[in-house]
Protein backbone atom coordinates (compact mmCIF):
# COMPACT_ATOMS: atom_id res chain seq x y z
CA UNK A 1 0.00 0.00 0.00
CA UNK A 2 2.66 2.45 1.03
CA UNK A 3 4.78 1.32 -1.87
CA UNK A 4 1.82 1.95 -4.16
CA UNK A 5 1.50 5.51 -2.90
CA UNK A 6 5.23 6.07 -3.17
CA UNK A 7 5.18 4.71 -6.67
CA UNK A 8 2.32 7.01 -7.60
CA UNK A 9 4.06 10.07 -6.18
CA UNK A 10 7.34 9.11 -7.78
CA UNK A 11 5.81 8.48 -11.18
CA UNK A 12 3.86 11.70 -10.78
CA UNK A 13 7.08 13.55 -10.06
CA UNK A 14 8.81 12.18 -13.14
CA UNK A 15 5.89 12.99 -15.39
CA UNK A 16 5.69 16.47 -13.88
CA UNK A 17 9.28 17.03 -14.99
CA UNK A 18 8.57 15.64 -18.44
CA UNK A 19 5.46 17.75 -18.82
CA UNK A 20 7.27 20.85 -17.61
CA UNK A 21 9.88 20.29 -20.29
CA UNK A 22 7.16 20.20 -22.92
CA UNK A 23 5.31 23.09 -21.32
CA UNK A 24 8.32 25.41 -21.34
CA UNK A 25 8.73 25.12 -25.07
CA UNK A 26 5.00 25.29 -25.70
CA UNK A 27 4.80 28.40 -23.60
CA UNK A 28 7.27 30.35 -25.65
CA UNK A 29 6.43 29.05 -29.08
CA UNK A 30 3.07 27.33 -29.10
CA UNK A 31 4.99 24.29 -30.23
CA UNK A 32 4.18 20.83 -28.93
CA UNK A 33 7.59 19.28 -29.31
CA UNK A 34 7.06 15.59 -30.07
CA UNK A 35 10.80 15.37 -30.46
CA UNK A 36 11.14 15.93 -26.71
CA UNK A 37 11.00 12.12 -26.69
CA UNK A 38 14.21 12.07 -28.65
CA UNK A 39 15.85 14.37 -26.12
CA UNK A 40 15.02 11.85 -23.42
CA UNK A 41 16.27 9.06 -25.63
CA UNK A 42 19.58 10.67 -26.48
CA UNK A 43 20.19 11.47 -22.82
CA UNK A 44 19.44 7.85 -22.01
CA UNK A 45 21.87 6.61 -24.64
CA UNK A 46 24.50 8.93 -23.21
CA UNK A 47 23.99 7.55 -19.72
CA UNK A 48 24.19 3.99 -20.90
CA UNK A 49 27.20 4.53 -23.07
CA UNK A 50 29.19 6.40 -20.44
CA UNK A 51 28.28 4.12 -17.58
CA UNK A 52 31.90 3.31 -16.92
CA UNK A 53 32.57 6.94 -15.99
CA UNK A 54 31.73 8.22 -12.53
CA UNK A 55 28.01 8.74 -12.20
CA UNK A 56 28.22 12.50 -11.83
CA UNK A 57 30.23 12.83 -15.04
CA UNK A 58 27.77 10.59 -16.83
CA UNK A 59 24.83 12.66 -15.68
CA UNK A 60 26.46 15.97 -16.56
CA UNK A 61 27.29 14.64 -20.02
CA UNK A 62 23.72 13.55 -20.58
CA UNK A 63 22.46 16.99 -19.59
CA UNK A 64 24.89 18.66 -21.97
CA UNK A 65 24.03 16.35 -24.85
CA UNK A 66 20.29 16.74 -24.40
CA UNK A 67 20.50 20.51 -24.07
CA UNK A 68 22.68 20.76 -27.16
CA UNK A 69 20.33 18.57 -29.13
CA UNK A 70 17.45 20.79 -28.03
CA UNK A 71 19.27 23.92 -29.16
CA UNK A 72 20.07 22.36 -32.51
CA UNK A 73 16.43 21.40 -32.97
CA UNK A 74 15.42 24.97 -32.31
CA UNK A 75 17.96 26.52 -34.61
CA UNK A 76 17.61 24.15 -37.51
CA UNK A 77 13.99 23.11 -37.57
CA UNK A 78 11.82 25.27 -35.38
CA UNK A 79 13.17 28.78 -35.73
CA UNK A 80 11.63 29.20 -39.14
CA UNK A 81 8.25 28.19 -37.85
CA UNK A 82 7.86 30.94 -35.29
CA UNK A 83 4.43 32.40 -35.51
CA UNK A 84 3.16 29.58 -37.69
CA UNK A 85 -0.05 27.92 -36.86
CA UNK A 86 0.37 25.39 -34.07
CA UNK A 87 -1.01 22.48 -36.07
CA UNK A 88 1.72 22.88 -38.68
CA UNK A 89 4.30 23.01 -35.94
CA UNK A 90 2.83 19.82 -34.47
CA UNK A 91 3.34 17.92 -37.71
CA UNK A 92 6.85 19.27 -38.13
CA UNK A 93 7.76 18.20 -34.62
CA UNK A 94 6.29 14.79 -35.43
CA UNK A 95 8.53 14.73 -38.49
CA UNK A 96 11.58 15.77 -36.50
CA UNK A 97 10.78 13.08 -33.96
CA UNK A 98 10.55 10.34 -36.59
CA UNK A 99 13.66 11.67 -38.29
CA UNK A 100 15.68 11.52 -35.09
CA UNK A 101 14.37 8.06 -34.27
CA UNK A 102 15.64 6.83 -37.60
CA UNK A 103 18.96 8.57 -37.06
CA UNK A 104 19.32 6.85 -33.71
CA UNK A 105 18.55 3.55 -35.41
CA UNK A 106 21.31 4.23 -37.84
CA UNK A 107 23.81 5.34 -35.23
CA UNK A 108 23.01 3.14 -32.28
CA UNK A 109 21.23 0.26 -33.96
CA UNK A 110 17.63 -0.80 -33.56
CA UNK A 111 18.33 -3.24 -30.77
CA UNK A 112 18.30 -1.99 -27.21
CA UNK A 113 21.54 -1.00 -25.60
CA UNK A 114 21.87 -1.57 -21.94
CA UNK A 115 24.20 -1.08 -19.09
CA UNK A 116 23.82 -0.91 -15.38
CA UNK A 117 23.51 2.67 -14.38
CA UNK A 118 23.63 3.69 -10.75
CA UNK A 119 23.17 0.17 -9.46
CA UNK A 120 23.23 1.44 -5.93
CA UNK A 121 19.71 2.66 -6.46
CA UNK A 122 18.07 -0.57 -7.46
CA UNK A 123 17.68 -2.12 -4.06
CA UNK A 124 15.09 -1.81 -1.37
CA UNK A 125 15.17 -1.05 2.33
CA UNK A 126 12.84 -1.42 5.24
CA UNK A 127 11.32 1.32 7.31
CA UNK A 128 9.04 0.41 10.19
CA UNK A 129 8.54 -3.07 8.85
CA UNK A 130 7.57 -1.94 5.35
CA UNK A 131 9.78 -2.62 2.36
CA UNK A 132 10.38 0.39 0.14
CA UNK A 133 12.35 0.55 -3.09
CA UNK A 134 15.34 2.87 -3.03
CA UNK A 135 14.57 3.97 -6.54
CA UNK A 136 11.15 5.32 -5.71
CA UNK A 137 12.48 7.34 -2.80
CA UNK A 138 15.39 8.72 -4.76
CA UNK A 139 13.09 9.60 -7.63
CA UNK A 140 10.74 11.48 -5.36
CA UNK A 141 13.59 13.36 -3.72
CA UNK A 142 15.13 14.19 -7.07
CA UNK A 143 11.82 15.28 -8.56
CA UNK A 144 10.99 17.43 -5.56
CA UNK A 145 14.39 19.11 -5.55
CA UNK A 146 14.28 19.87 -9.23
CA UNK A 147 10.68 20.98 -9.23
CA UNK A 148 11.48 23.31 -6.33
CA UNK A 149 14.48 24.63 -8.21
CA UNK A 150 12.36 25.13 -11.31
CA UNK A 151 9.70 26.77 -9.21
CA UNK A 152 12.28 29.20 -7.89
CA UNK A 153 13.57 29.84 -11.38
CA UNK A 154 10.12 30.47 -12.77
CA UNK A 155 8.61 32.47 -9.93
CA UNK A 156 11.53 34.46 -8.61
CA UNK A 157 14.00 35.15 -11.33
CA UNK A 158 13.95 37.60 -14.22
CA UNK A 159 14.23 34.74 -16.70
CA UNK A 160 11.30 33.00 -15.11
CA UNK A 161 9.21 36.15 -15.24
CA UNK A 162 9.98 36.53 -18.91
CA UNK A 163 9.10 32.88 -19.56
CA UNK A 164 5.79 33.28 -17.78
CA UNK A 165 5.02 36.46 -19.66
CA UNK A 166 5.94 34.88 -22.96
CA UNK A 167 3.75 31.89 -22.21
CA UNK A 168 0.87 34.23 -21.63
CA UNK A 169 1.45 36.61 -24.55
CA UNK A 170 4.66 36.36 -26.52
CA UNK A 171 3.99 39.30 -28.78
CA UNK A 172 3.44 41.75 -25.94
CA UNK A 173 6.51 40.43 -24.13
CA UNK A 174 8.55 41.35 -27.18
CA UNK A 175 7.01 44.79 -27.19
CA UNK A 176 8.35 45.27 -23.70
CA UNK A 177 11.83 44.32 -24.77
CA UNK A 178 12.05 40.64 -23.98
CA UNK A 179 14.61 39.19 -26.36
CA UNK A 180 12.78 36.45 -28.20
CA UNK A 181 15.74 34.48 -29.54
CA UNK A 182 17.47 34.31 -26.20
CA UNK A 183 14.31 33.45 -24.36
CA UNK A 184 13.32 30.66 -26.71
CA UNK A 185 16.85 29.26 -26.66
CA UNK A 186 16.75 29.29 -22.86
CA UNK A 187 13.46 27.44 -22.86
CA UNK A 188 14.87 24.76 -25.13
CA UNK A 189 18.06 24.36 -23.12
CA UNK A 190 16.15 24.01 -19.87
CA UNK A 191 13.76 21.53 -21.47
CA UNK A 192 16.78 19.53 -22.58
CA UNK A 193 18.13 19.49 -19.05
CA UNK A 194 14.76 18.36 -17.70
CA UNK A 195 14.68 15.64 -20.34
CA UNK A 196 18.04 14.42 -19.07
CA UNK A 197 16.71 14.17 -15.52
CA UNK A 198 13.72 12.20 -16.75
CA UNK A 199 16.09 10.00 -18.72
CA UNK A 200 18.18 9.31 -15.64
CA UNK A 201 15.21 8.19 -13.58
CA UNK A 202 13.95 5.98 -16.39
CA UNK A 203 17.28 4.40 -17.16
CA UNK A 204 17.88 3.43 -13.56
CA UNK A 205 14.63 1.50 -13.51
CA UNK A 206 14.85 0.14 -17.03
CA UNK A 207 18.32 0.20 -18.55
CA UNK A 208 17.30 -1.03 -22.01
CA UNK A 209 17.53 1.95 -24.30
CA UNK A 210 16.25 1.71 -27.83
CA UNK A 211 15.48 4.47 -30.36
CA UNK A 212 11.91 4.75 -29.11
CA UNK A 213 12.77 4.95 -25.43
CA UNK A 214 11.36 8.40 -24.75
CA UNK A 215 8.18 7.99 -26.77
CA UNK A 216 5.71 6.64 -24.22
CA UNK A 217 6.56 9.11 -21.53
CA UNK A 218 6.40 12.02 -23.95
CA UNK A 219 2.95 11.02 -25.14
CA UNK A 220 1.79 10.95 -21.54
CA UNK A 221 3.58 14.22 -20.82
CA UNK A 222 1.54 15.64 -23.68
CA UNK A 223 -1.58 14.38 -21.97
CA UNK A 224 -0.27 16.07 -18.85
CA UNK A 225 0.10 19.51 -20.35
CA UNK A 226 -3.34 19.33 -21.90
CA UNK A 227 -4.86 18.29 -18.59
CA UNK A 228 -3.02 20.88 -16.55
CA UNK A 229 -3.30 23.76 -18.94
CA UNK A 230 -1.03 24.45 -21.85
CA UNK A 231 -0.86 28.16 -21.15
CA UNK A 232 0.69 27.87 -17.75
CA UNK A 233 3.97 26.42 -16.58
CA UNK A 234 2.56 25.56 -13.18
CA UNK A 235 -0.34 23.91 -14.93
CA UNK A 236 1.93 21.79 -17.09
CA UNK A 237 3.84 20.43 -14.12
CA UNK A 238 0.67 19.80 -12.18
CA UNK A 239 -0.96 18.10 -15.13
CA UNK A 240 2.04 15.87 -15.58
CA UNK A 241 1.96 14.98 -11.93
CA UNK A 242 -1.72 14.10 -12.08
CA UNK A 243 -1.25 11.90 -15.13
CA UNK A 244 1.68 10.05 -13.60
CA UNK A 245 0.05 9.53 -10.25
CA UNK A 246 -3.31 8.50 -11.71
CA UNK A 247 -1.67 6.11 -14.16
CA UNK A 248 0.30 4.52 -11.37
CA UNK A 249 -2.77 4.17 -9.18
CA UNK A 250 -4.90 2.88 -12.05
CA UNK A 251 -2.34 0.16 -12.58
CA UNK A 252 -2.93 -0.98 -9.06
CA UNK A 253 -6.67 -0.42 -8.88
CA UNK A 254 -7.90 -1.70 -12.21
CA UNK A 255 -6.34 -5.09 -11.87
CA UNK A 256 -6.82 -6.83 -15.19
CA UNK A 257 -8.41 -3.83 -16.74
CA UNK A 258 -5.28 -1.82 -16.11
CA UNK A 259 -4.00 -2.27 -19.63
CA UNK A 260 -6.72 0.11 -20.71
CA UNK A 261 -5.37 2.85 -18.45
CA UNK A 262 -3.94 4.54 -21.53
CA UNK A 263 -7.34 4.61 -23.16
CA UNK A 264 -8.81 6.24 -20.11
CA UNK A 265 -6.06 8.83 -20.16
CA UNK A 266 -6.76 9.64 -23.79
CA UNK A 267 -10.49 9.85 -23.22
CA UNK A 268 -9.81 12.33 -20.42
CA UNK A 269 -7.69 14.36 -22.84
CA UNK A 270 -10.52 14.52 -25.37
CA UNK A 271 -13.04 15.51 -22.72
CA UNK A 272 -10.78 18.27 -21.43
CA UNK A 273 -10.12 19.58 -24.91
CA UNK A 274 -13.86 19.79 -25.47
CA UNK A 275 -14.89 21.21 -22.17
CA UNK A 276 -11.94 23.13 -20.78
CA UNK A 277 -9.44 23.60 -23.54
CA UNK A 278 -7.27 25.66 -21.25
CA UNK A 279 -6.81 22.73 -18.93
CA UNK A 280 -8.24 21.95 -15.54
CA UNK A 281 -6.81 25.05 -13.96
CA UNK A 282 -7.91 27.51 -16.54
CA UNK A 283 -10.69 30.00 -16.26
CA UNK A 284 -11.44 30.66 -19.85
CA UNK A 285 -12.24 28.79 -23.02
CA UNK A 286 -10.08 29.67 -25.96
CA UNK A 287 -10.56 30.01 -29.69
CA UNK A 288 -9.52 26.42 -30.19
CA UNK A 289 -13.15 25.52 -30.51
CA UNK A 290 -15.71 26.20 -33.19
Amino acid sequence: MIQAILDAVSLGGVYALAALGLGLVFGVMRLVNFAHAELITVASYTLVMTHQFPLVVSIVLSVVVASLMALIMELVAYRRLRGSNPATMLIVSFGVSVLLQKVYELVFGALPRSASVATGLTGAFTVGGVSITTASVVTIVLAVVILLAMGYLIERTKLGLQLRAAASDFQTARLLGVRSNRLIASAFVISGALAAVVAFVNVVGNPQVDPRFGLDITILALVGIVVGGMNSLRGSALGGFIVGAVLSLLNVILGNGRVYAYSWMFVIVIVILLVRPGGILSKFATKERV
Binding site: K158, T172, L175, L176, S180
Partner: protein
Amino acid sequence: MTLLEVRDLRAGYGKVDVLFGVSLTASKGELIGIVGPNGAGKSTLFGAIVGTVGLRGGSVFLDGEDISGKRPEDIVRRGLSLVPEGRQIFSGLSVIENLTLGLTGRRDKNGEKGALDRVHDLFPVLTTHRDHQAGMLSGGQQQQLAIARALVADPRVLLLDEPSLGLSPTVVKDVFDRLIAIAESGTAVVIVEQRAHLVTRLAERTHVLRAGKVQATLTKEDAADEAKLTAAYFGSSGE
Protein backbone atom coordinates in the same frame (compact mmCIF):
# COMPACT_ATOMS: atom_id res chain seq x y z
CA MET B 1 12.83 68.64 -31.96
CA THR B 2 11.40 65.82 -34.02
CA LEU B 3 11.57 62.59 -32.14
CA LEU B 4 9.55 60.36 -34.43
CA GLU B 5 9.50 60.62 -38.18
CA VAL B 6 7.60 58.26 -40.40
CA ARG B 7 8.29 58.66 -44.12
CA ASP B 8 6.10 57.22 -46.83
CA LEU B 9 5.41 54.01 -44.91
CA ARG B 10 4.05 51.00 -46.72
CA ALA B 11 3.03 47.78 -45.01
CA GLY B 12 0.63 44.86 -45.25
CA TYR B 13 -0.11 41.26 -44.40
CA GLY B 14 0.44 38.38 -46.78
CA LYS B 15 -1.00 39.29 -50.15
CA VAL B 16 -2.79 42.34 -48.86
CA ASP B 17 -1.25 45.79 -48.68
CA VAL B 18 -2.72 47.97 -45.99
CA LEU B 19 -0.65 51.14 -45.87
CA PHE B 20 0.17 53.02 -49.04
CA GLY B 21 2.61 55.71 -48.00
CA VAL B 22 1.97 57.28 -44.64
CA SER B 23 4.06 60.12 -43.31
CA LEU B 24 3.95 61.92 -40.00
CA THR B 25 6.13 63.45 -37.34
CA ALA B 26 5.96 63.81 -33.61
CA SER B 27 8.14 66.18 -31.64
CA LYS B 28 9.15 66.50 -28.05
CA GLY B 29 6.16 67.32 -25.90
CA GLU B 30 3.66 66.96 -28.74
CA LEU B 31 0.48 64.97 -28.62
CA ILE B 32 -0.44 63.64 -32.06
CA GLY B 33 -3.68 61.94 -32.96
CA ILE B 34 -4.43 59.36 -35.61
CA VAL B 35 -8.08 58.72 -36.35
CA GLY B 36 -10.02 56.96 -39.01
CA PRO B 37 -12.57 54.27 -39.69
CA ASN B 38 -12.04 50.59 -39.05
CA GLY B 39 -9.69 48.88 -41.41
CA ALA B 40 -7.94 52.11 -42.28
CA GLY B 41 -4.66 50.71 -41.11
CA LYS B 42 -4.18 52.49 -37.82
CA SER B 43 -3.00 49.45 -35.86
CA THR B 44 -0.94 48.33 -38.82
CA LEU B 45 0.80 51.67 -38.75
CA PHE B 46 1.86 51.20 -35.17
CA GLY B 47 2.83 47.62 -35.91
CA ALA B 48 5.05 48.72 -38.75
CA ILE B 49 6.68 51.39 -36.60
CA VAL B 50 7.52 49.06 -33.72
CA GLY B 51 8.51 46.13 -35.89
CA THR B 52 5.74 43.60 -35.40
CA VAL B 53 4.50 44.12 -38.93
CA GLY B 54 6.90 43.96 -41.86
CA LEU B 55 7.76 47.17 -43.68
CA ARG B 56 7.23 47.07 -47.39
CA GLY B 57 8.46 50.53 -48.13
CA GLY B 58 9.33 53.86 -46.54
CA SER B 59 11.20 54.40 -43.31
CA VAL B 60 10.92 55.20 -39.64
CA PHE B 61 13.30 57.48 -37.78
CA LEU B 62 13.61 57.78 -34.03
CA ASP B 63 15.43 60.93 -33.02
CA GLY B 64 17.24 60.85 -36.32
CA GLU B 65 18.16 57.18 -36.13
CA ASP B 66 16.75 54.85 -38.78
CA ILE B 67 14.84 52.11 -37.03
CA SER B 68 13.00 50.81 -40.07
CA GLY B 69 12.42 47.10 -39.87
CA LYS B 70 14.21 46.60 -36.59
CA ARG B 71 12.86 44.11 -34.09
CA PRO B 72 10.45 45.27 -31.36
CA GLU B 73 12.82 44.31 -28.56
CA ASP B 74 15.52 46.50 -30.06
CA ILE B 75 13.23 49.42 -30.80
CA VAL B 76 11.90 49.64 -27.27
CA ARG B 77 15.46 49.87 -25.99
CA ARG B 78 15.99 52.89 -28.21
CA GLY B 79 13.15 54.72 -26.55
CA LEU B 80 9.95 53.91 -28.42
CA SER B 81 7.20 52.17 -26.47
CA LEU B 82 3.81 50.92 -27.57
CA VAL B 83 0.74 50.44 -25.42
CA PRO B 84 -1.09 47.93 -27.59
CA GLU B 85 -4.76 47.79 -28.39
CA GLY B 86 -6.70 46.06 -25.66
CA ARG B 87 -3.98 46.87 -23.18
CA GLN B 88 -2.57 43.34 -23.25
CA ILE B 89 -1.50 43.22 -19.68
CA PHE B 90 -0.38 39.86 -18.38
CA SER B 91 -3.49 39.02 -16.42
CA GLY B 92 -1.97 36.06 -14.63
CA LEU B 93 0.93 38.10 -13.30
CA SER B 94 0.79 40.62 -10.50
CA VAL B 95 0.81 44.37 -11.02
CA ILE B 96 4.39 44.72 -9.86
CA GLU B 97 5.44 41.82 -12.07
CA ASN B 98 3.88 43.53 -15.06
CA LEU B 99 5.81 46.68 -14.24
CA THR B 100 9.04 44.76 -13.73
CA LEU B 101 8.62 43.32 -17.20
CA GLY B 102 8.32 46.83 -18.51
CA LEU B 103 11.78 47.53 -17.11
CA THR B 104 13.22 44.99 -19.54
CA GLY B 105 13.12 47.58 -22.26
CA ARG B 106 15.11 50.22 -20.43
CA ARG B 107 18.39 51.30 -21.87
CA ASP B 108 19.62 52.59 -18.56
CA LYS B 109 19.43 49.84 -15.97
CA ASN B 110 20.48 52.24 -13.21
CA GLY B 111 17.34 54.29 -13.13
CA GLU B 112 15.00 51.33 -12.53
CA LYS B 113 13.97 52.28 -9.04
CA GLY B 114 13.47 55.91 -10.01
CA ALA B 115 11.29 54.91 -12.93
CA LEU B 116 9.13 52.68 -10.74
CA ASP B 117 8.74 55.44 -8.18
CA ARG B 118 7.69 57.90 -10.85
CA VAL B 119 4.95 55.69 -12.26
CA HIS B 120 3.70 54.90 -8.80
CA ASP B 121 3.38 58.64 -8.18
CA LEU B 122 1.60 59.11 -11.46
CA PHE B 123 -0.73 56.16 -10.91
CA PRO B 124 -1.31 55.61 -7.18
CA VAL B 125 -3.65 52.73 -7.90
CA LEU B 126 -0.61 50.65 -8.75
CA THR B 127 0.66 50.91 -5.20
CA THR B 128 -2.70 49.87 -3.81
CA HIS B 129 -2.87 46.79 -5.99
CA ARG B 130 0.81 46.04 -6.14
CA ASP B 131 0.66 42.32 -5.49
CA HIS B 132 -2.75 41.66 -6.91
CA GLN B 133 -3.26 39.76 -10.11
CA ALA B 134 -3.44 42.19 -12.95
CA GLY B 135 -6.46 40.45 -14.40
CA MET B 136 -8.49 41.51 -11.38
CA LEU B 137 -8.12 45.23 -12.00
CA SER B 138 -10.88 47.22 -13.61
CA GLY B 139 -10.60 48.31 -17.22
CA GLY B 140 -9.46 51.79 -16.30
CA GLN B 141 -6.91 50.49 -13.83
CA GLN B 142 -5.58 48.04 -16.40
CA GLN B 143 -5.17 50.89 -18.84
CA GLN B 144 -3.18 52.81 -16.23
CA LEU B 145 -1.06 49.71 -15.66
CA ALA B 146 -0.45 49.31 -19.37
CA ILE B 147 0.64 52.91 -19.70
CA ALA B 148 2.81 52.70 -16.59
CA ARG B 149 4.39 49.54 -17.89
CA ALA B 150 5.35 51.28 -21.10
CA LEU B 151 6.58 54.37 -19.22
CA VAL B 152 9.06 52.58 -16.97
CA ALA B 153 11.17 51.96 -20.04
CA ASP B 154 11.67 55.77 -20.21
CA PRO B 155 10.44 56.15 -23.76
CA ARG B 156 11.04 59.32 -25.70
CA VAL B 157 8.07 58.40 -27.87
CA LEU B 158 4.96 56.72 -26.52
CA LEU B 159 2.41 55.16 -28.87
CA LEU B 160 -1.05 54.25 -27.63
CA ASP B 161 -3.49 52.15 -29.65
CA GLU B 162 -7.11 52.86 -28.76
CA PRO B 163 -6.57 53.73 -25.10
CA SER B 164 -10.25 54.54 -24.61
CA LEU B 165 -11.44 51.08 -25.64
CA GLY B 166 -13.98 49.68 -23.24
CA LEU B 167 -13.68 52.51 -20.75
CA SER B 168 -16.40 54.71 -19.33
CA PRO B 169 -16.36 58.46 -20.03
CA THR B 170 -15.08 59.54 -16.61
CA VAL B 171 -12.28 57.02 -16.72
CA VAL B 172 -11.42 58.07 -20.24
CA LYS B 173 -11.10 61.67 -19.17
CA ASP B 174 -8.82 60.63 -16.35
CA VAL B 175 -6.61 58.61 -18.66
CA PHE B 176 -6.35 61.36 -21.22
CA ASP B 177 -5.53 63.94 -18.56
CA ARG B 178 -2.57 61.81 -17.59
CA LEU B 179 -1.55 61.42 -21.21
CA ILE B 180 -1.50 65.19 -21.54
CA ALA B 181 0.70 65.35 -18.45
CA ILE B 182 3.04 62.78 -19.94
CA ALA B 183 3.32 64.79 -23.12
CA GLU B 184 3.96 67.94 -21.15
CA SER B 185 6.86 66.25 -19.40
CA GLY B 186 8.60 65.93 -22.72
CA THR B 187 7.58 62.62 -24.23
CA ALA B 188 6.15 62.62 -27.72
CA VAL B 189 2.76 60.93 -27.49
CA VAL B 190 0.97 59.49 -30.49
CA ILE B 191 -2.55 58.21 -29.98
CA VAL B 192 -4.64 56.12 -32.33
CA GLU B 193 -8.32 56.52 -31.58
CA GLN B 194 -11.51 55.46 -33.21
CA ARG B 195 -13.42 57.98 -31.16
CA ALA B 196 -11.98 60.93 -32.96
CA HIS B 197 -13.41 63.61 -30.72
CA LEU B 198 -11.27 62.40 -27.84
CA VAL B 199 -8.03 63.46 -29.50
CA THR B 200 -8.86 66.15 -31.99
CA ARG B 201 -9.15 68.90 -29.44
CA LEU B 202 -6.09 67.82 -27.54
CA ALA B 203 -3.63 66.99 -30.27
CA GLU B 204 -1.32 69.42 -31.96
CA ARG B 205 -2.11 67.58 -35.16
CA THR B 206 -4.61 64.85 -35.90
CA HIS B 207 -4.11 62.75 -39.00
CA VAL B 208 -7.13 61.18 -40.57
CA LEU B 209 -6.20 57.80 -41.94
CA ARG B 210 -8.47 56.18 -44.46
CA ALA B 211 -7.80 53.26 -46.79
CA GLY B 212 -4.14 53.22 -45.88
CA LYS B 213 -3.37 56.86 -46.53
CA VAL B 214 -3.43 60.08 -44.59
CA GLN B 215 -6.37 61.83 -46.15
CA ALA B 216 -6.20 64.98 -44.07
CA THR B 217 -4.39 66.56 -41.18
CA LEU B 218 -6.24 68.72 -38.71
CA THR B 219 -4.86 71.11 -36.16
CA LYS B 220 -6.45 71.80 -32.79
CA GLU B 221 -8.20 74.80 -34.27
CA ASP B 222 -9.52 72.89 -37.27
CA ALA B 223 -10.91 70.25 -34.99
CA ALA B 224 -13.35 72.65 -33.48
CA ASP B 225 -14.93 72.96 -36.87
CA GLU B 226 -17.43 70.08 -37.22
CA ALA B 227 -17.70 70.42 -40.95
CA LYS B 228 -13.96 70.14 -41.50
CA LEU B 229 -13.80 67.09 -39.28
CA THR B 230 -16.63 65.30 -41.04
CA ALA B 231 -15.23 66.11 -44.44
CA ALA B 232 -11.85 64.76 -43.48
CA TYR B 233 -13.25 61.64 -41.85
CA PHE B 234 -15.62 60.58 -44.56
CA GLY B 235 -14.09 62.19 -47.61
CA SER B 236 -15.32 65.38 -49.12
CA SER B 237 -16.98 63.71 -52.03
CA GLY B 238 -19.04 61.75 -49.53
CA GLU B 239 -17.78 58.28 -50.67
